[in-house]
């Protein structure tokens, strides 16, 4: 039943795409499409929720589509239900946001159809239960999002972004094709059911896992396959950026979980080492890249890379525990990862919405041209602040909960027998802690430079508060961030069926714990209570406020800021994003990005301004992708000379081919 509803919703979304094409010209189309998609995804959300909480057994369904002798298999189990919820929650809020935001769209015909189709694609990926349907929906998802990235094709960066995105997406899909080819075997057992039954050999499963890590990882944005992500996500309209960053990457995580935990058979202990190594690198590289950015949306995109790293750390730990027969620890790590999936989808969407609101208000994405928006758009500023606090893992918000759980999982890992893991996990823990701190720094920068201080450009001065739909969407997400933060137990318990299905164990039920706190293993070991922390903070804060305003002065004077004796400082004297990041850049950037600063100080009497230039190189692009591009170009040039031969030379090609084949024959026996 639930599955049917979800599928019907997907079909409805596809139909909606057609509607978008047909009535794209009419002004009402925006309202219609986004409103309809809001309703449809809400229904499918309810279906997913009902299945996750209600049903115990997975439901499946086969349609006579796709590969003829195979049919299209669909299945709704706990895992796909959870990810269906994530997808639809993101889709709902994005549609709500777009009801207002979409009005500013200059070319709705390039957005509306693909938007609906994109949602349908993501829904189908999590429902698919055979290799063909899965890859079909997967690539369909990439294709539609590509079209959305290209929705403003006159901007050269967008075209480049779309290109890189599509190539990387095809690469990922082909890698997954290999993975499924392995799992399906020579006689083409393409349905997941058959793969589950097949029990692949250890080596085969390992290879499949690596391929899945590459294939799904390239879409999720793990380093070094992330290059497309910071290009493509910002290029799309903001609500689509939110979907791509907050939801599509999660669908990729789903793909990885599906293969690594279910199809690839029982894990070997060293799988987790691979995953953890990649994840640790992804986490830190992502946040360091983000710190170097001053384009708001690109910064957010790089933070997606970081959070994907955190998620994969959780998954890697879970694999490790699972391989070493510690199911409960595995359940803890998996739950942490999945909870972070959920949380990240919330606050990343929220932040992208915020950047969209800023974009519509000022027309600027570059933080260096913003500032002081908190005065002009206070509500947006407030919700974005919540988002920033949440993604910086500050209690009592949701980001902290999942990171805390991940830390708890790390603290369990001394029980792991293998030395490789013993030495690996603490390092990963350090990287995680480092990235958490750096993320906080990065969002101080992002928020402070964008919303605080004084406006740096007239555009920022003229900004005005965004529309009510967008605000509604953002407040909705912010509220969810808080709720998950203070009532994590509820959500952890909701995730129990997933870990039970994948690992056969679950975290202890949290609802019973005193004061709704969460207790991963035992109360004596560790516990956290977001609700109480929240109450305490509000209580003590209000107490202090009351006391001071009651017993002490509450008078207040406005005066110019302290200017060191130089009157009327221009906004240009404020700290910019680049200057804010300078200390951290000096600490980390010098060897990661080979960041170089050049100060050009004119001699006294010379009137030209002094200038400081910072040169940052992207190591991964330079060492991995640039050579590839150059190489292909070289080969293409070299082969291209064959286009310019004379007929006689072409004939001699034929002649040589003939002689060679005859020689082969002569030598054959």
């Amino acid at each position: 039943m639930t599955l049917t509803i979800a599928l019907v919703c997907a079909a409805a979304l596809l139909a909606l795409a057609a509607v978008g094409v047909i009535m794209g010209r009419s002004p009402a189309s925006t309202r219609v499409v986004y409103g309809a998609s809001l309703i449809i995804t809400a229904m499918s959300f309810i279906a997913g929720l009902a299945h996750l909480l209600g049903a115990t057994t997975p439901v499946s369904l086969t349609l006579p589509l796709g590969v003829p002798w195979l049919g299209a298999h669909f299945r709704l189990d706990a895992l796909s239900a959870f990810f269906l919820i994530v997808v639809d929650l993101g889709a709902m809020s994005a549609s709500l946001f777009a009801l207002g935001y979409g009005e500013h769209e200059t070319a709705p015909r390039r957005v509306l159809p693909f938007y609906a189709a994109f949602l349908a694609g993501m829904t189908l990926v999590v429902l698919a239960d055979d290799a063909y349907t899965f890859l079909f929906s997967w690539e369909f998802m990439s294709l539609t999002s590509w079209a959305l990235v290209m929705s403003h094709p006159r901007v050269p960066e967008n075209v480049r972004a779309g290109y890189v995105y599509l190539v990387m997406a095809s690469f990922g899909t082909l890698t997954l094709l290999f993975a499924f080819g392995l799992l399906a075997g020579p006689d083409g057992l393409y349905t997941f059911a058959q793969m589950r039954a097949a029990h692949p050999s250890a080596a085969l499963g390992a290879l499949a896992l690596i391929l899945a890590l590459i294939g799904a990882g390239s879409k999720a944005g793990i380093v070094p396959l992330h290059v497309w992500l910071p290009l493509a996500h910002p290029a799309a309209p903001s609500h689509v950026s939110a979907l791509m960053s907050g939801v599509m990457t999660k669908v990729a995580v789903y793909g990885f979980v599906r293969i690594a935990f279910e199809l690839a058979g029982p894990p070997a202990w060293w799988w987790s080492i691979v995953v953890l190594a990649v994840a640790g690198a992804t986490t830190v590289m992502g946040v360091l890249y983000a710190l170097m950015q001053h384009d708001l949306k690109r910064l957010l995109a790089y933070h997606t890379v970081e959070n994907i790293g955190i998620i994969f750390i959780g998954l890697g730990l879970s694999l490790a525990f699972n391989a070493n027969g510690l199911p409960f620890a595995a359940a803890l790590a998996l739950t942490a990862a999945l909870l972070h999936v959920f949380n990240h989808s919330l606050f990343k969407s929220l932040l992208f919405f915020g950047s969209g609101a800023v974009l519509t208000a000022t027309g600027e994405r570059d933080m260096e041209h913003l500032g002081g928006l908190i005065h002009r758009m206070p509500q947006t500023a407030f919700v974005v602040l919540v988002g920033c606090a949440a993604i910086s893992a500050l209690p009592p918000l949701n980001g902290f909960v999942s990171e805390w759980l991940t830390f708890q999982a790390i603290l369990l890992s001394p029980q792991l027998p293998s030395w490789g893991l013993k030495l690996m996990v603490p390092g990963v823990g350090a990287l995680l802690a480092l990235s958490a701190a750096l993320a906080a720094a990065c969002f101080v920068k992002a928020y402070g430079v964008t919303f605080l201080g004084r406006p740096r450009t007239p555009a920022a001065e003229r900004a005005s508060e965004t529309d009510r739909f967008s605000l509604a969407a953002m407040f909705f997400l912010a509220a969810l961030c808080l709720v998950v933060g203070i009532l994590p137990g509820v959500f952890i318990d909701a995730l129990a069926p997933v870990s039970t299905a994948l690992i056969g164990a679950r975290m202890p039920p949290q609802i019973g714990a005193q004061w709704l706190s969460i207790v991963p293993i035992a109360a004596s070991r560790s516990s956290y209570d977001g609700l109480l922390v929240f109450l305490f903070m509000t209580l003590s804060g209000t107490l202090a406020a009351y006391a001071i305003h009651r017993f002490a002065s509450d008078r207040l004077r406005r005066a110019p800021a302290w200017d060191c004796g130089y009157p009327d400082l221009s906004p240009a004297t404020q700290y910019t994003a680049m200057s804010f990041a300078q200390p951290i850049r000096r600490v980390f950037g010098t060897f990661v990005f080979r960041a170089r600063e050049q100060v050009d100080m004119p001699p006294p009497g010379d009137m030209r301004p002094a200038r400081l230039t910072v040169r940052i190189t992207d190591p991964i692009w330079d060492f991995l992708y640039a050579p590839l591009v150059v190489g292909i170009g070289a080969v293409a040039d070299w082969l291209n000379r064959l286009q310019f031969l004379t007929i006689r030379q072409f004939l001699s090609l034929v002649f040589c081919a003939l002689v060679i084949l005859l020689l082969v024959l002569a030598i054959w026996s």
């Binding site: 310019f644 007929i647 006689r648 004939l651 005859l662 020689l663 002569a666 026996s669």
Partner: protein
Amino acid sequence: MSRIDFDIAHLLAGSLVLISFLELYQDRLYALLNVFAAHALVLAASVAWQAFVQDAPHLYVTAAIALTFKAIVIPVALHRIIVRLGIHREIEKVVGVGTAMLAGMGLVALSMVVMLRVTHGADPLAREDLAFALSVVLLGLLMMVTRRNAVSQVIGFMSLENGLVLAATGAKGMPLVVEISVAFSILIAFIVIGIFLFRIRERFDTVDVQVIDRFRGERR
């Protein structure tokens, strides 16, 4: 068939190969034309002999075509073209005579190896014919790729085709042989007319980069 028939067929086919070598050797166009005429002549002879041996009268038609068309009409036409294009005293080889000969040797050896190794079941006549035919084909192709100007390449193509006819006639009782030879004659006529009409000399082979770009490349 009797021994003598076999020997004569063998002799004719062998001499066809020999003449192909002579063609390879020639570098003056007139001389080349004459040698080719001889080539066609021998072919006609061998086809006629096959017709006689297999008492397949329709093969006489093929022989006639070879005789009239290839040994007379085409050489004359080509002669005209050479005069018109004024290329009669050109040395136009890509590789030297020696190399070409050596390559030709190699090709003949190759075809012998390939053919004689295979057809154990078939009667020796067909077998010999096939081996020689293959060498003639290969030599013709070699000629096409080692010559620069149109005329000698056409000649190469025609001797290649002579090899085909030899094979076809050698294949006892093969249908459509006449039709095929006719079709080929038409083909060759097309080529010759092509050369005649469009003066395609340089389009066969040129080292002029501009021309290459203009014609064969992307128009920049």
